[in-house]
């Protein structure tokens, strides 16, 4: 077994844990160490916030040539999700059973297994999205 590349100890990988800048109130996901708008003024002034998991589809595509680990799922839907707090997140829209996914559709986050590091490796968890 190899050492896992993606540690479960990084909580924002499977939680929608974001950062909020104390100077301008902008929310970023993944969380940042420095706010790209306020930069120096934001250092030491960022707080942890959790996203609601509600968003809309900004754009989506049906993927036929899978990312490694996703081969059994083709074709699958990959989308950019505009969260209600502001950040845009890349993720799969699942369980839509043939219903077309379109820009503007409301979605919500679900906690899912994403894959594992080989047969005996650590299981990865993370966020996928379903139609709301």
């Amino acid at each position: 077994m190899t050492v896992p590349r993606f540690w479960r100890e990084i909580p924002q990988r499977y939680n929608l844990q974001a950062s909020k800048c104390g100077a301008c109130d902008a929310i970023h996901y993944p969380p940042r160490t420095v706010c790209p708008e306020c930069r120096r003024a934001s250092i030491g002034n960022l707080e942890e916030v959790k996203l609601s998991g509600r968003g809309t589809v900004l754009e989506s595509t049906r993927v036929h040539k899978a990312a490694p680990g996703y081969e059994a799922q083709v074709p699958y839907t990959l989308a950019l999700i505009q969260t209600e707090e502001g950040p845009v997140i890349t993720g799969q829209v699942v369980d839509h059973d043939g219903r077309a996914v379109s820009a503007g559709d409301d979605v919500r986050a679900v906690f899912r297994r994403l894959g594992e590091d080989g047969d005996a490796g650590v299981i990865y968890y993370g966020t996928k999205w379903v139609l709301a």
Partner: protein, 391 residues
């Protein structure tokens, strides 16, 4: 621009394609020796070497390739500085820019810049993993994104916003394959029809197999020199009159606008300004068409056509042979092939041949000003060079 000027005095690349009978080091040596011979420089004339390559570690299991490749060219005993440059698809273009800067700074009078990739010795899955290492591993790829899928999202946004059609995307592939058919070094040398593009197996909708550049083996090399020594190297010099590089967020999701690549816009503005040229002066361009949609973004963001008009302009032939600016006369990444690190250098080779007037039956008539545009990932790195023929 004030100060020292860099000139391209030698250019060569290997045939691009599947080179199962050559290792990466043989490919680089072939291109390097041909470029040095073209320039007429001797080993002892060379001051510094750069090589652009994206992923020799994953593709051939070898890092630390700059000194290795220099040794392959028989130059180890010169003890030259040799440096490897990486920025995904823009690795070659960035290596070229490092060479230009070494000349301009006065640190060197003669610089050799190589680019290479050996991609077909590994499985499709390993190739895909390398391509995907140019996007954000933790926040895009981990959640199911591929490089092609992100470009598909860009294509769909472009279609929704500007009315770009599937057929207009296909027109990019048809044009570049027609160009590639006249390039003896291209991987694909057959014209294709719109139907071929539209009927190809889907990769990520709306993009199919013929919307994507292939995986390829190949190496390219150019020799640069300063104005102080350019007269020693014959009459085939091409001036590097502008050089611009810019960056953007690695993740596509962090961009305010999916349909423009700001890094391309900034790199182009800097390069045009430095060269003192306007976009209307450009005769020929080699742009980064890793996907059909990326050529549309490129011709718009480089200013060749108005934003959103890339599709109609391609269909109308404004970017084809005999058009306002001939885009990718080599066949581009799509038909010439895309050995990643070699691409940015092969673009400079192609422009050099057109600006010298030696591009044989694909010669762009009266080509005087050329633009090379090379990007990485979904446009997180862009590099633009302006080259001018010397009369």
């Amino acid at each position: 621009m004030t100060g020292r000027t860099a000139y391209v005095v030698g250019a060569a690349h290997t045939p691009f394609g599947e080179a199962w009978d050559k290792s990466y080091r043989h490919l680089m040596t072939d291109a390097g020796l041909a470029a040095i011979q073209d320039a007429g420089v001797q080993g002892e004339d060379i001051d510094e070497v750069f090589v652009g390559t994206m992923s020799t570690g994953k593709l051939v299991g070898q890092e630390h390739v700059a000194s290795l490749l220099l040794d392959g060219a028989g130059l180890a005993d010169q003890h030259l500085p040799a440096t490897r440059i990486e920025a995904a698809g823009a690795s070659g273009g960035l290596a070229f820019r490092q060479g230009v800067q070494a000349i301009r700074s006065g640190a060197a009078d003669v610089v050799v810049v190589g680019g290479l990739e050996k991609m077909t010795d590994v499985s499709d899955a390993d190739q895909a993993a390398v391509t995907a290492s140019g996007i954000d591993q933790e926040w895009e790829h981990f959640f199911g994104a591929t490089d092609a899928a992100l470009h598909a999202l860009i294509a769909k946004r472009h279609m929704a916003r500007y009315g770009t059609t599937r057929e207009q995307l296909a027109a990019v592939a048809v044009k570049n394959h027609a160009h590639g058919a006249r390039n003896p070094l291209a991987q694909f040398r057959r014209p294709i029809t719109e139907e071929t593009v539209l009927r190809a197996p889907p990769v990520a909708e709306p993009l199919g197999m013929f919307d994507c550049a292939p995986t390829s083996d190949g190496a390219a090399c150019v020799v640069l020199c300063s104005d102080a020594v350019v007269d020693s190297y014959g009459g085939k010099a091409v001036q590097v009159s502008g050089s611009g590089q810019a960056s953007d967020t690695l993740s596509l999701s962090d961009r305010a606008d999916l349909t423009s690549w700001r890094a391309t816009e900034h790199a182009a503005r800097r390069a045009y300004q430095e060269a003192g040229v306007s976009v209307a002066d450009v005769d020929v361009a080699e742009v980064h068409d890793a996907y059909t949609i990326t050529e549309l973004l490129a011709v718009e963001d480089l200013g060749f056509v108005k934003k959103g008009e890339g599709g109609p302009a391609t269909v109308e032939g404004r970017t084809g042979d005999g058009g306002d600016v001939v885009v990718n006369p080599s066949g581009g990444l799509k038909a010439r092939g895309h050995p990643v690190g070699a691409t940015g250098i092969a673009q400079v080779c192609e422009l050099t041949w057109h600006l010298r007037g030696t591009a044989s039956d694909r010669q762009v008539k009266d080509a005087r000003i050329g633009v090379a545009h090379n990007t990485g990932g979904t446009g997180a790195t862009a590099v633009v060079h302006v080259l001018e023929g010397v009369q």
